[in-house]
């Protein structure tokens, strides 16, 4: 990879992403290129596609929920071109690894709402929760159970009583009880996987500083 190109890339990314040092951004870029598999093509047109990304989410960050992993991909992919380019990659990881409470709040909300209208609707919630009960009883009972669970969740989080959860609702609910941050399913990685990833990714920096 061309060093000058790399440096310019690092510069431009570090302007918008504050939570990583330049050396760390460099490491992340290298990893990105390893993952994409093609190291010599112009960077702007290359990206991670959905499947590759999902594999990464699963193997590195331990996520298992298909629906949500999809949504995470969309949350990373800000320009909606079905590829995650390097900037989106670094930006997304900054939320995963170093995100402030506000950033994570926004991220989760983005993951959870499907329609473009900025609300989490009842149907969406049902979709996300439909596998959350273990199949102990015949299908009908479980469906009822899930519907009730959706009701419970809405009752807890819908402050303006409009039948759907806006960002304001979500923010208020999570601020009151932090456990509700990933209320509709795990979309952020566990602390341990983050630590492991960082150790792996930034080991270069650590060793080079000696």
């Amino acid at each position: 990879m061309d060093q000058k190109v790399l440096k310019r890339l690092v510069e431009s990314i570090s302007k918008s992403v504050n939570s990583f040092k330049k050396s760390e951004i460099e490491c992340l870029i290298r990893i990105f290129h390893n993952l994409v598999g093609r190291g010599d093509v112009k960077l702007a047109n290359v990206g991670l596609d959905r499947n590759t990304f999902r594999v990464i989410l699963h193997s590195v960050f331990g996520m298992t929920d298909d629906v949500l992993m999809n949504r995470v991909f969309f949350a990373f992919d800000k320009d909606n071109d079905n590829y995650i380019n390097v900037k989106e990659w670094v930006r997304g990881l900054s939320v995963f690894l170093r995100g402030t409470f506000e950033e994570k709040l926004r991220f989760c909300f983005e993951v959870y709402y499907f329609n473009g209208d900025g609300y989490i609707s009842r149907e969406r919630i049902y979709d996300m929760l439909k596998n959350s009960l273990h199949q102990q009883s015949p299908g009908e009972e479980t469906d009822e159970g899930i519907t009730e669970l959706v009701d419970i969740a809405l009752k807890k989080m819908d402050y303006d009583n409009d039948g759907k959860i806006s960002f304001a609702d979500f923010e208020k609910a999570v601020k009151e009880d932090r456990l509700l941050l990933e209320v509709f399913g795990p979309c952020l990685p566990e602390a341990k996987s983050c630590l492991d990833f960082e150790a792996l990714a930034f080991q270069h920096i650590l060793t080079s500083s000696f």
Partner: protein, 733 residues
Amino acid sequence: MSKQEVKFSEQLQKDQPNKAPKEEVAVTHKTSITSRKSAQENRINLGRSQLTKRLEPSLNWRTSVSSKESRNTLRDTQVEKHGGKLEKSRSSLSSGRAQLIRKSVEKIEEIISDSSSESEEDEEQPDHRQEANADLPSEYWQIQKLVKYLKGGNQTATVIALCSMKDFNLAQETCQLAIRDVGGLEVLINLLETDEVKCKIGSLKILKEISHNPQIRRNIVDLGGLPVMVNILDSPHKSLKCLAAETIANVAKFKRARRVVRRHGGITKLVALLDCGKHSAEPAQSSLYETRDVEVARCGALALWSCSKSYANKESIRKAGGIPLLARLLKTSHEDMLIPVVGTLQECASEENYRAAIKAERIIENLVKNLNSENEQLQEHCAMAIYQCAEDEDTRDLVRLHGGLKPLASLLTNTDNKERLAAVTGAVWKCSISKENVTKFREYKAIETLVGLLTDQPEEVLVNVVGALGECCQEHENRIIIRKCGGIQPLVNLLVGINQALLVNVTKAVGACAVEPESMMIIDRLDGVRLLWSLLKNPHPDVKASAAWALCPCIQNAKDAGEMVRSFVGGLELVVNLLKSENKEVLASVCAVITNIAKDQENLAVITDHGVVPLLSKLANTNNDKLRRHLAETISRCCMWGRNRVAFGEHKAVAPLVRYLKSNDTNVHRATAQALYQLSEDADNCITMHENGAVKLLLDMVGSPDEELQEAAAGCISNIRRLALAIEKARYS
């Protein structure tokens, strides 16, 4: 102190307008139950009338609740809900009373747990099951549904259910029992054993709230919840540690729970939480659930406070190095932190091992500093800690040196908060054992304040106030002050109480005052001597002994003492019969009284008729120096009537007396020599003494610096010698 606490709580319950008839307050477990029940009845009365006025759907099923604590929480929440609307003044009054009652009830529970009896466990109210009928409130069904999600859901569903469950009013017993009755406790505890941090946090938040209910606490322990929580203390997540510690603090409020915590190594882990100086390796990514180290230490202190009520735990805390850590935490200025830390120290300070460590760690300095805090609870606990520690002389000096006496004296004037007042008066009492402290208290006019507290105060305060006055009375100047501010009358009035700890202190104080002739006149006028005399009939030996000791200066300083003593019908016989007691302290004190009585010839004749000589002789075989001394003194007094000298010899009192000379105590020597001198006026006694080797022992004492001893020894020897010479003369003539 535990005796006093029980009295205090009983007194509070008695203070209620609709009180149970006064019962003989014996310090037995049974009495505590009875008074608990009577308190319960009172509360039921108040509770029902409040229930009828509530506007919510009827909760008739609740009347089957038998636990008193549930009534407390129940009534409190009702009062909170409706206080503003319906009966404002009434509810504020009853909630105030409820506070005091609940505290006293909790204190009983704590005291009982503190004592070594296991019977507290038997007292468990039969587990009340809610009746499954349509009268169950809607919360019950909602909670049941939520618990189903806990059982059958994955982590996501579980978290939603847990967060939703927290919205219920978990302080209300309906909700608490609902959770338990649908099997929620098992599920919550199971969640604690998973690896899912969010579930653990959510579950602990709920357990923390519902474990305020004593029944639930027991259920949690029965289900094995405590070891799980103790294990969570090892977690790297600080918020988990905090929640676990706080929940343990709530659960460990009874003896069995505390034992379980200790058995699973919980004490060591909790002590480790106090160490917030070290910063454990924190993840670069700050988790959203992180809390500060200080908060962890605070929660650890809370848990230790609950656990420290049992003796074995106090020891464990000390061995785990808890004291230096607690001392370090004392230096903060957060009241939230200080209260549990001082609370723990105060619990532990009742043990001697602790006091040495407390002195070493400069804890007294901080306790004194915090006496000046604005927080009343903190002041109370600091005063309690000082009370416990001031058994030790060095500590008493430290309190003075760090300027602790002044705030204590000024807190005496603040009588609103009775618990704090009790703690402060206790601290003043124990500090007064040192004379320099008493001088300081006098400067701060504390003595006058104390006299003012002799009326209209609950018994626990009185015990300490009188104790303090008793210590002050050891000095002449203070006795005068007490007399001048009219302290004698209220003291004498207290002689008619039932509280044994109080009586012991009152008799001591009255006795100390009686040394002043002017005070003695007042005591006599108020019939104080008769009251003291009747206390000789009190069942408790400590009271008997203390009353007897007090009677000595009374008789010494009263005008017409002999006449006065004779005027008590059956009084002399009573005193003589006390010589049959088995308690050494009682015996010593009664001997001292008899010594004083016997100064009057007529009375001496009367007690001789009552058989004092054989009774005294029977006591002669003792190794107790205190008893020996007073016994010898009284024997020498009693010799001065009729043929008592001879009678003592006939009852074989002489030989044991000679053995007293081998003791190490000079007081015993003096008294014995005097007794032997008196007895040696009789020839047979001389022979006995000679046979028992008295002469050699007495010869050693002739050279003693103590003049009275010298004289008596010499006199005795000369009598023996004279007899020997007379026998020789008779032989040769």
